[in-house]
Symmetry: none
Subunit: 525 residues, 2 copies
């Protein structure tokens, strides 16, 4: 959308993953990258190839598995070591070999850091920047430079900090991103510095951290001062207090500053994407998050209520629909009549206005108890059918089930489950083993139904996610389980919410099987 005139640059997969408690597998990183691409960001910084096996593998798999439609994949790394040729530095070679179209090099711009942390001379640091940038440019990659601790460096040694920018620009770096690495800057002083650097002629980017609670404001101030490249992270992830929240920055720049960064359709996906990303990171989404938070447009009754009836805009800074959020707070791809009607049509059900209203009410009620249907199409379809036909689809009636996990005196682990159910007029008792209680229940259920419904032989569970909904009751918390199933042709998701992980998993398993049989053409009783 924004072309090259203005860069929306995401660093969730690199700087964002520095957040305490945030650990992304390669599969997670690929999933997050796809969500960010859907939002329409210009650049996705994937990590530091060569620095750790995970990031190296990410770039390897990205070449074949990541089909980005909007964003350019960016590799992050450092300038060459002191005293070697850029071409001979294995760290630089890994950046080149990542085959990412863009490389962002981090460089010291604070004289004290060069001497104390890098332990080299100010001159050599400039040479390291010059050589590495021109080497990678010669290798055909576009190069950006992250000027680390730029603002502290500017205060300490203005001339040197500016020399770093000039050196990088002259060597061929397209953007020099000024980093408030310690996050201590305030907007006004930051803007003055950015203005100075822009006047010096380089294309300037901004990279802010939220240690003063001003990361978003600092990013806006920098843009006003002439920066044309903004870095941030999904949901404000990042080390310490986090990086600038890219969603808030995008919302402010496009809806309040009039910059055209993403399409209206992409903007309307922002809330869904913010929550989808948090499902992958398994970090509970901040309900107060501007624009996309669950509570961002939530009003408590009272002073506001009456006025809101008169005119909602009286108490909203923007129309929540613009960012795909909802004044009534229940955020999900379903939570809205229009989207329910749409989804119904997509699934082949005609939802008249009234029907849709009932379904929306039911969905919101369930969401308030912890359900989410974003990743559970199949559960939503079963719910839809129940609302439309008045009966719950069932191919079998469960009488009881039991799961046992045991650690024996010899140290071996045994997981065993027994299922008792009625199907096609028979009462069936079946037992299964597994490497865990859920796996055992899964196997027991297949054993029980396999003879009557051979199609279940093709059923496979491809993904299993657990989310503890309130982390404040120790092991007594409520649990949500999301299961992704496949029959070799199609994939579908089901959800279960219960007081314990086994019961929640059972619920999702049962719906996964029901959905499988339904689409195998079995009439449900």
């Amino acid at each position: 959308m924004q072309g090259d005139a203005f860069h929306v640059y995401d660093t969730t997969l690199r700087d964002g993953s520095q957040q305490e408690g945030l650990n992304l597998s390669v599969a997670d990183k690929l999933a997050v990258a796809r969500h960010l691409d859907d939002l329409g960001v210009g650049f996705i910084e994937g990590g530091w190839p060569g620095a750790n096996p995970k990031d190296t593998e990410f770039f390897r798999r990205a070449l074949t598995e990541l089909d980005l439609r909007h964003a350019q994949l960016t590799a992050f790394g450092a300038t060459r070591r002191a005293g070697v040729q850029a071409a001979d530095d294995p760290q630089v070679a890994a950046l080149r070999d990542s085959r990412a179209p863009v490389v962002t090099l981090v460089a010291k711009s604070h004289d004290r850091h060069v001497e104390l942390a890098l332990r080299t001379t100010l001159e050599e640091n400039l040479a390291m920047i010059r050589d590495t940038v021109s080497h990678l440019r010669a290798e055909g990659q576009r190069v950006f430079l992250d000027a680390e601790h730029f603002f502290d460096g500017y205060k300490a040694n203005r001339a040197y900090a500016l020399e770093v920018v000039r050196t990088a620009a002259e060597a061929g770096a397209d953007v020099v991103a000024l980093c408030d690495t310690n996050g201590g800057m305030l907007p006004d002083e930051l803007a003055e510095v950015v203005h100075e650097v822009v006047s010096a002629g380089a294309r300037v980017g901004i990279h802010c951290h939220d240690d003063s609670g001003c990361a978003v404001a600092n990013s806006l101030a920098a843009v006003k001062a002439g920066a044309t490249h903004v870095q941030g992270c999904a949901n404000g992830y990042g080390e310490r207090s986090g990086n600038a929240n890219l969603f808030t920055v995008i919302g402010n720049l496009q809806l309040k500053r009039g910059l055209r960064l993403v399409s209206d359709e992409q903007m309307a996906e922002m809330t869904r994407i913010a929550h989808a990303v948090s499902e992958v990171t398994n970090v509970t989404p901040g309900s107060q998050q501007p624009y996309v938070g669950l509570s961002a447009f939530a009003h408590k009754a009272g002073l506001h209520a009456s006025a809101i009836k008169v005119d909602p805009d009286l108490y909203q800074h923007i129309d929540p629909a613009t960012v795909g959020n909802d004044m009534r707070m229940l955020v999900s791809s379903m939570a809205g009549r229009a989207s329910v009607e749409l989804k119904g049509r997509e699934l082949g059900y005609d939802l008249s206005g009234e029907k849709a209203k009932d379904v929306v009410a039911r969905v919101k009620e369930l969401e308030s108890t912890g359900y989410t249907f974003e990743a559970a199409d199949a559960s939503f379809e079963l719910l839809l059918r129940e609302e439309l036909t008045g009966v719950r689809q069932r191919h079998f009636e469960v009488e009881s089930w039991r799961a046992i996990v045991e650690r024996r005196p010899d140290g071996s682990m045994v997981s065993e489950a027994t299922v008792k159910l009625h199907a096609k007029g028979e009462r069936i008792v079946a037992t299964g083993e597994g490497n865990g209680p859920v796996n055992a229940l899964d196997n027991a259920l297949r054993v029980a139904l396999g003879r009557l419904y051979p199609e279940l032989g093709r059923l496979e569970l491809v993904d299993y996610k657990v989310r503890i909904l309130e982390g404040t009751h120790g092991t007594g918390a409520r649990t949500r389980v999301l299961i992704e199933s496949s029959d070799g042709e199609r994939e579908w998701g089901t959800v279960g919410v219960e007081d314990n992980v086994i019961a929640a998993s059972w619920q999702a398993l049962e719906e996964a099987v029901t959905y499988c049989l339904l689409h195998a053409g079995y009439e449900a009783s």
Copy 2:
């Protein structure tokens, strides 16, 4: 501390309690008020006497039970109804009868709101302000005015918005707080408006919401533009995206703008107070919160760690001790040796280069199998002790355990666990029930050890996180469990990784108990 020249005004108990899911009893409100008084804020807005019985009772009890040393208690309310005398308006009477030394009146300053929400004329609205302010002043109370929707009103009808300010000031309001009620303002335009109003001669205050993620920056911009009264909420509580975080505002104004708002001793209490308040509100504290968050000074990147060893200030915007916080190193594969050494030092273990190397190797090996130690200090310390002493700390030997989850034919769920172990030369068999298998195992373990180790009575599990590591093997995936425990004084995290969630949870539980006993002074065998 700040005298009357500059006001730090807290509205946690009124506007902050509009936050979704935040409900404070009268006792809670009294407790929060005491914490805020300890911090040294100038004004504590207690609520709206007369609007609801709870707030009325709060002000009644505050007179006798709340012995504020720094702050002045403030009652919040509205201007008189249209067409009545202020003296005859029961709502105004309740403000007077609250006997709060200060009353803050909310008034409309946006013409559209006067007509649509208040349904009266612009003139009458001014009269309502004039009468109510002068009536309460005559009754001996100090009066502030909250000009609701001031900035939107200023855009819509500048003359009228300014007339509201003038009217209030002339009637005797000491401060007119300009409210960005919808939270949509950005710092630069907000500053311009504040500057205009200050030039008009009134004493100006600022009240910001975080809907654009700029509440803190907006507050700072207003102060720079001449506001001498700042409103905010503890931990950024508030409706929608919350109010300006008062702790962040205080930290920025005092540590970066040089205003003297609280004493150094009070500032050093800020982190403790922020967490104490969240204990009362029962809202999990935001670990990313600037200055006071658990992660606010936590470092993960190896890049940073090596430099931090040289000089911590290189990667901190302030000294965490100033606000009573600590720098923490997070042990992660991204970190490596430097951070392991620092972490060891933090835990009181001297790791010479060689030992550090062994520990790093062990950590990396464990992390490659799914462990993470950044949220599991206690597990890391146990590992560290094992590496240093060559023996694993054990207070008990587990012979076997078994967990059963059953759904009975009547639909009821039962979770039961049995633990067999040896401790202090005894063989103990104990059984526990719970709302899930892990909860049952937790209870069984406490029953088994409770008699021998009464300290376990204080052990509480405060958080429980489950992560499926490879989401590609369906229910056969590997599982990581993180448990956060507390003994009322300290909190610690443990980790378990196994093929199934029950076994992983058991591992984390066992380490949580071991760590608890270790720090209760029990020699391990």
